[in-house]
Symmetry: C2
């Protein structure tokens, strides 16, 4: 070890050199491998020992250990100690998102080989912004993008042969996640909606003032169900439309975008003569409920009115790999653009997303060139992306598809959907719970409604007060369960019944870990009931015996 | 191995389970570690064997192997084979950015422990968008951000004590790179420049039409030297200003932003009454030249006119860790916002960037909330970021600072600056080269000007023709050297002399690899001279014997 890293914690030139030259001698090599073994299995042991959201240390107390804001001049720790500290101090206080009892968010377990693949991308450290810092990885990325485009759009062989390695066209781009994928899609839509006229070339070049003045407009809007991901509002703000102009359409009794309300709004917006609809966004599925909007009908509407149709399939996109459930996404192939996340149901490590376009020239609307990078006509993948420098995430996706096959992914997707259905059945059977949204994909929302309150609600008295009690109850159950650290569901706010006029606190479960079994889900519900029993008498006298 | 991965390439449930449960038996564990060893040293061997930009395979030929756009239903390869393929087929055709002969781009060698740290973040797979999927990592990130803020702004202990773990304020955010860091800074600046008035609350909420109408404006602009990174133009387009409104100011004889031209333009813009200046951007240093703009003077101008002062220190930021050269960035502490990249001179793997704000409430201008994530008053780090889900890059930076100390980073920075000066000296001594921009930091631009052409140029005849010849010559030298695969410099276009009225092709070297020695730089120049000799007679008769 003396050969590998400094025995004394002093920064000097010799030490520095050592961290850049990987060691040649067998002993030092062994030490480096040993470290990696610790990472693979030391963290693994933590994952076995700690379930749920980790032991409870109050945030304030935890924060006290992270107050020092000075940077040490000399080294403080050797690599071995840093790894030990992470295993013993950081990991146990991190969140065990890999636990099968962690069913609260869209971050979950990943296949263990993903750590190897991520290590490979770090070791190669290619930057796919530019061919000169990535070469074959840029070519591989174009291929992976074509594979994904084909999964979504199912064009013919000739189409893909023409575009897969075409340096002029772009079927899609990797992004750092669904947020920047959605932003990219709406950015393209915004730039495409107003044609050049006189001095006005594009919003991208001339900005909003000239754009609106030239086209005699006052407003540009995006329409999406109120269940749209918050990144869509953010996109509206960022892109200069104003986030109030990302208009939330009510959902219908199926929790999908209300098509009649959408149509009525389109008519109204078109008739004022001052508003341009930039895009309509369909969800597949919604972040909170997993609901899929009626994509074929949305496609019809967009076609009729010549509006950009974007599908946010950040969550649901990989369902296309399941022959059994791909039909749920019917109509997605008619979208002008589609967002799909890699770190969600492609089970890749944080972070990678993608956005695809039906028209291989659509991304020209956001192309940027520079003479030191991204030259015209080159393969440089940074020309048509929001982000600049990017790691070679496509290598991970490509490798994972080769290791698992589409069928491997399909099995996980199908497990999630079917286990979510079983879960909803279990919730329905328990008298003190109400299923709020049935799973279309692998997301179930529900809430606890103690029988005593159910009866009172039925009488129609004190509805507002009772709902407040239920909100507090469900908030507390979620919090207490999270803090106990055995399991984790999340919470959000939805209409408990489609006809409600207010949003209630609901529990939200996302079943994506293939190790999450029906038995585990029973345990989670048992625990919630036990928590209720424990707090009922004191905090919720209304629900008493 | 039979226990670990399928012996047959069939996707089934049993196989799937195996990739999610890390193996308990010693034999399987050994295999996984062996794979990691291959990754660490198999790729390492490639790095030793292949220097420069890799063996030459024409792009078109390379592309032919990446044409298949179908996804296999069943698995095609085992993990072991995927790793073998990457080592034997992908890596040799990737770019060896870690070679000390690769001095062309801002992507370079990283200390070997970075691969371990990246593997750790993948194994933990925390999502710092939200406390519930990151816990201690969110708290650690706040600490690291405060350390970096302190490096830039040097506020007092009380300030950092008040903000380091404050859930209401935000000193900065991690981004996926300098591009989104710059966009974030200008996004905040755009939203801050117009005060609420009547129905108008903010551009973010109401959009450009209301903003401009309320304030009786027609144009919002950003001012930056023509050496500004292309992400600034992109930001102008994305944010709705129009990229033509990111106005490039000429550089002066020192290649810094021309202050008199800047001042004149500010006066002109202010006098038209219809234009608002969103921000002035100072470079530290410029992507192409490494030049640092006169930050104290820019700060004075911004202060006088109450304009947001952004410093793009994506490249130069870490120079602040060098006691010897930190003075070069004097004035940066007066910036309203500062971009610094992690994957550049913090030597982290792709990709991570950061943006800091002097005012801990500045980022409130881009805050977004959602009931399922990013709740008000929470530590959720996704509230004030452009990106959504994010990996815990702060753990890598924090660990690296502990392993190397600020002095360790300083040594690398100082090596780069001093070696670049030596390099410029070597170029100057060779009669056939011209230094175009002297290194302020660790970037040197130069070009080959054969002596025969130098004489003709001096006579003042045929200037345009001679410059075209020189452009072609330098383009070819760069290309031939790159294709030979022994070493790599990049190229861009700059004025060869400050008084030129056109941009010439120049060679660009970035000295950031601590293994790049003066001897290697001599070899690179020797090779360029040799290439010239070889092509001179045929392609460049003008420069003949």
């Amino acid at each position: 070890m003396a050969d590998l890293l400094p025995t004394e914690l002093i920064a000097n030139w010799q030490t520095l050199h050592r961290v850049f030259i990987q060691p040649e001698d067998e002993n030092s090599k062994k030490i480096l491998v040993k470290y990696m073994e610790k990472i693979l299995f030391g963290l693994h042991d933590f994952l076995n020992k700690h379930v749920g959201v980790t032991e409870e240390i109050s945030l304030a107390k935890l924060s006290e250990a992270y107050m020092d804001t000075t940077i040490n001049k000399d080294p403080q720790k050797k690599l071995a100690d840093v790894i030990e500290d992470i295993i013993h101090d950081i990991a146990p206080r991190a969140v065990n998102v890999a636990s099968p009892y962690f069913i609260g968010h869209m971050t979950s377990a990943i296949p263990f080989f993903m750590v190897h693949l991520k290590a490979i991308t770090a070791a190669l450290n290619q930057n796919v912004i530019k061919l000169e810092t990535s070469k074959v990885l840029s070519i591989l990325e174009k291929q992976v993008i074509a594979k994904m485009h084909r999964m979504v759009y199912k064009q013919n062989d000739a189409f893909y042969k023409a575009h897969v390695q075409n340096t002029q066209t772009t079927l899609g781009v990797f992004t750092t996640g669904g947020t920047t994928a959605n932003i990219t899609a709406l950015w393209v839509a915004r730039n495409s909606v107003l044609f050049p006229k006189g001095d006005f070339k594009s919003i991208e070049e001339n900005g909003f003032f000239q754009a609106l003045k030239t086209h005699d407009l006052e407003r540009m809007v995006v329409l999406v169900s109120k269940r749209g991901h918050f990144s869509l509002k953010k996109a509206g703000g960022l892109l200069g439309l104003g986030n109030q102009n990302v208009i939330a359409i009510d959902v219908d009794k199926n929790r999908q975008i209300d098509l009649s309300k959408l149509k009525a709004l389109i008519q109204k917006l078109k008739s004022d003569g001052k508003t341009k609809i930039v895009a309509i966004v369909g969800l597949a599925g919604a972040t909170e409920t997993g609901i899929i909007d009626p994509l074929p009908q949305l496609a019809d509407i967009c076609e009729e009115h010549k509006i950009h149709f974007h599908v946010d399939a950040a969550w649901g996109g990989p369902v296309l790999l399941s022959e059994k459930y791909a039909h749920l996404l019917e109509g997605i192939e008619r979208a002008d653009s589609v967002t799909i996340d890699c770190h969600k149901q492609f089970y890749m490590p944080m972070t990678a997303g993608m956005v695809y376009f039906k028209d291989p020239t659509a991304l020209d609307k956001i192309a940027y060139y520079a003479s030191y990078v991204n030259r015209r006509g080159s393969v440089d993948l940074g020309i048509k992306t929001l982000e600049g420098s990017r790691e070679a995430s496509s290598l991970i996706l490509d490798s994972a598809l080769k290791i698992m096959g589409s069928r491997g992914y399909a099995l996980m997707i199908e497990h999630g959907i079917e286990t979510a259905r079983i879960f909803a059945g279990k919730i329905r059977k328990r008298p003190c719970f109400q299923v709020v949204t049935e799973p279309v994909l692998n997301i179930v929302t529900y809430r606890m409604v103690p029988e005593a309150i159910q009866k009172k609600l039925a009488s129609g008295d004190q509805t507002q007060h009772l709902n407040e009690v239920l909100d507090t109850l469900n908030k507390n159950i979620q919090r207490i369960q999270r803090e106990a650290g055995n399991s984790f569901v999340s919470r959000t706010q939805l209409k408990a019944f489609p006809s409600d006029d207010h949003d209630s606190v609901v529990l939200r479960s996302v079943i994506m870990n293939p190790m999450t079994t029906p038995e585990i889900l029973d345990e989670i519900l048992d625990e919630q009931e036990a928590i209720f029993k424990k707090i009922a008498g004191t905090h919720f006298p209304l629900t008493g015996p």
